[in-house]
Amino acid sequence: AQSVSQHNHHVILSEAASLELGCNYSYGGTVNLFWYVQYPGQHLQLLLKYFSGDPLVKGIKGFEAEFIKSKFSFNLRKPSVQWSDTAEYFCAVSLGQNFVFGPGTRLSVLP
């Protein structure tokens, strides 16, 4: 079955630490890839997206993600997190009409 997995359920970091959240998908065809963020009590907002071209994409708030086709991965990174990055992060894959979210990773940043 087609699926999106995220490596960590809950990540706890101190401010200024580096962040990497893993995302893998199981689709074999051409996909569009996304990372969304959901701050506490809010709706989902787009962080970044990959459709084609440079596999390293930069998003808002200093986030970036790298698409590695051979590994079916689209990991999210940030060199130095802030307390305000505390949120739920969702990886998502679009394949045709289908749009599938991963289970989410909760990031807690300690001040």
């Binding site: 989902l44 787009l46 459709f51 998502a92 009409q97 749009f99 289970p103």
Partner: protein, 115 residues
């Protein structure tokens, strides 16, 4: 300007009642969706409409009935509410798949609590 709006933001009701949630988008998108987010934050697509036509209908009880009067609106009606329906319901819209890659634009969510 609100791109995707939902009403109400909070909905508290008794088991067995019927309720509706409304969604409107002013982005000119052709496709709209309903998602359910449970207490563990897991997001599950429920329905998708493209130009008022149903294109995705996941395994959802038939107590849930979407209605799309036009391509800017997708309402969700729920009959005979049950405790397990308590969740946050998000509406979303997307542009053409080729141009926009199916990027989802989300509404603020409706927190439904069934007592």
């Amino acid at each position: 300007d609100t791109a995707v709006s939902q009403t109400p933001k909070y909905l508290v009701t008794q088991m067995g009642n019927d309720k509706s949630i409304k969604c409107e988008q002013n982005l000119g998108h052709d496709t709209m969706y309903w998602y359910k987010q449970d207490s563990k934050k897991f997001l599950k697509i429920m329905f998708s409409y493209n130009n008022k036509e149903l294109i995705i209908n996941e395994t959802v009880p038939n107590r849930f009935s979407p209605k799309s009067p036009d391509k800017a609106h997708l309402n969700l009606h729920i009959n005979s509410l049950e405790l397990g329906d308590s969740a946050v319901y998000f509406c979303a819209s997307s542009q053409d798949i080729v141009v926009g890659g199916n990027e989802q634009f989300f509404g603020p969510g409706t927190r439904l609590t069934v007592l």
